[in-house]
């Protein structure tokens, strides 16, 4: 027994270090954000202004546009990535020929591991013009009376481009989780649903219900990655302080704002502090999404206990 105990104790430092790192980071962000928070109050998060000035008294910052952009692009990404990753998982598990199964799995794992700058450059050089010419322009030409499509897609750098690129980037993550879970559905449930005269589509629908927790987890993970993604997004979103639901408008995200402005922020009195405050909001969004996800999983566990 003593051996087991000492092993347990040996794991403590790792736990403590992780905890201290997290708390320490939060502390650093908070203290650095304080000057801006103190000066602008909640307006820092609720207003859409970006007035950098060498005279500190004329500096005004409000990052609402970036917060909106982070959430909006991530939601677009999830709306696209979720059906894609579910379909990919079902295809790999149920339909892919045995010999190709592993190839498909490796392919998506490689895509998950690619450096994000690779996606960013591909996005800027190919995806943005492609979406502009084939998706945005036709939609704008014919359906611009719908507010979503009302912004003229001049450059193509937009919420939509960022959302689509993010969707492509997070699909491998979501599908890894969903695929594993779908693959692990006990065979007896497959037999059960088919024995009831289900078609393949119906059986898949029921079995996907069985792995709902994995789908929720995959979605949360994907959302977390989408919100936090920096380089690739800043290359395709247009980096403009817009606050609109128009899909084709350029925008900003919190992380792309930080990445773009941090280099010259030291020139201004309050900008660095503002960017720390922006980082803080990413902590909050991450926390909120995880709490909501955990709540959903808890409810499932309470009801279903598989």
């Amino acid at each position: 027994m003593r051996k087991v105990e000492s092993f347990k104790v040996a794991t403590y430092p790792a736990v403590i270090i992780v905890f201290l790192l997290f708390a320490g980071m939060l502390f650093v962000y908070f203290t650095n954000a304080l000057p801006a928070l103190h000066r602008y109050g909640l307006d820092l998060y609720l207003e859409n202004v970006w007035r950098a000035a060498e005279e500190p008294s004329e500096e005004v910052y409000g990052i609402a546009a970036a917060i909106w952009g982070s959430i909006y692009t991530s939601i677009i990404a999830i709306l696209i990535a979720l059906p894609l990753s579910v379909a990919y998982s079902v295809f790999v598990v149920d339909y892919a020929p045995k010999r190709l199964k592993n190839a498909f799995i490796i392919l998506s794992d490689i895509m998950a591991g690619l450096p994000t700058i690779i996606y960013g450059i591909w996005g800027a050089f190919f995806l943005v013009p492609f979406l502009r010419d084939w998706i945005m322009k036709p939609l704008y030409d014919h359906l611009s009376f719908i507010p979503l499509f009302s912004y003229p897609p001049v450059g193509g750098y937009s919420y939509l481009s960022a959302g689509v690129l993010l969707a492509i980037m997070v699909t491998p993550f979501a599908s890894a989780i969903i695929r594993e879970a779908y693959n692990m559905v006990p065979f007896t449930y497959r037999e059960a649903i088919y024995s009831l005269g289900a078609t393949r589509y119906e059986a898949t629908k029921i079995l996907l219900g069985y792995i709902k927790p994995a789908i929720i987890s995959g979605t949360i993970l994907a959302f977390g990655r989408a919100v936090g993604e920096t380089v690739a997004v800043s290359l395709v979103i247009g980096n403009t302080f817009n606050l609109t639901t128009a899909l084709f408008a350029p925008g900003y995200t919190v992380s792309s704002l930080i990445a773009n402005q941090f280099g010259n922020a030291f020139i201004y009195e309050y900008m660095t502090s503002t960017l720390f405050a922006a980082g803080l909001i990413l902590f909050v969004i991450g926390l909120a999404v995880n709490v909501v996800g955990l709540k959903m999983l808890k409810r499932w566990e309470r009801d279903v206990n598989i």
């Binding site: 045995k98 007896t188 024995s195 005269g197 029921i206 219900g209 069985y210």
Partner: protein, 253 residues
């Protein structure tokens, strides 16, 4: 005579393995027909040819005929889904869908196949099936709960209700009491004796004692071959084959 299920030179292969070897079997309409034999003799495999569920196993190949009330279900124009609507199945592991409520577990086959026309009819049929499966009194107040809190025996009766709800012509049962405690087992065996008045039940069991308790006819399968078949009483009291005798007296597997 009218047979519920009839196999003609039935062979099943898993890749190179020949697991059912030229079986000719006639299962009469109504009553309990027990397929018995030691583990690995192919009885579960054979049962899965009766509703074409065997096709879920990649690499399984079926040769020969299985006739359901005279019609070969392996002829090219037969849709396995239509077969499965007529042949219900209960499994070795009680497998109600854990993420569906008790009600939905019974209703699912009806919903999928559009077998009822209205919500009222669905309610009635669910109640009817649960009563048939002798589970109604235990679950009528918690139809919207999930089956997670039911005992193994209750879950198995829920699965029986799920199958019965579709009013199948034949009910296949693959060792339905293998994972159930003795009290639950007794209840399910009792239920079998009631159901056999209206249904043809094909029961796979590795226990000769269980076959003796509930079956009207038995078949003894050994290493993929049909050794002996006949009325239960005759096979148990006066087996023709030496292997059968060894098996029913417990000297074999």
């Amino acid at each position: 005579m009218n047979f519920a299920i009839e196999t003609v030179n039935l062979n099943v292969y898993y890749g190179q393995n020949h697991v059912i070897k030229g079986v000719d079997l006639k299962i009469p309409n109504r009553g309990v027909f027990a397929l018995m034999g030691p583990s690995g003799c192919g009885k579960s495999t054979m049962l899965r040819t009766f509703n074409r569920l065997i096709e879920l196993n990649e690499g399984a190949r079926v040769d020969g005929e299985v006739r359901l009330f005279g019609e070969n279900i392996y002829s090219g124009d037969v849709d396995p889904i239509e077969v499965r609507k007529r042949v219900g199945m209960v499994f070795q592991y009680p497998n109600p869908f854990p993420h569906l409520t008790i009600y939905d577990n019974v209703a699912i086959g009806l919903k999928l196949n559009g077998l009822v026309k209205s919500k009222e009819e669905l309610d009635e049929r669910v109640e009817w099936a649960l009563k048939k499966a002798a589970l109604w009194d235990e679950v009528k107040d918690r139809l919207n709960d999930y089956p997670g809190n039911l005992s193994g025996g209750q879950r198995q009766r829920l699965v029986i209700a799920r199958a019965l709800a579709m009013k199948p012509e034949v009910l296949l049962m693959d060792e339905p009491t293998a994972n159930i405690d003795p009290v639950g087992t007794a209840k399910i065996e009792e239920l079998l004796l009631e159901l056999k008045e209206d249904y043809t039940i094909v029961l796979v069991t590795h226990s000769p004692a269980q076959a003796a308790r509930v079956a009207d006819h038995v078949a003894f399968l050994y290493l993929g071959e049909l050794i002996e078949v006949g009325p239960a009483r005759k096979v148990f009291e006066n087996p023709e084959h030496e292997l059968t005798e060894k098996y029913v007296t417990g000297a074999l597997g």
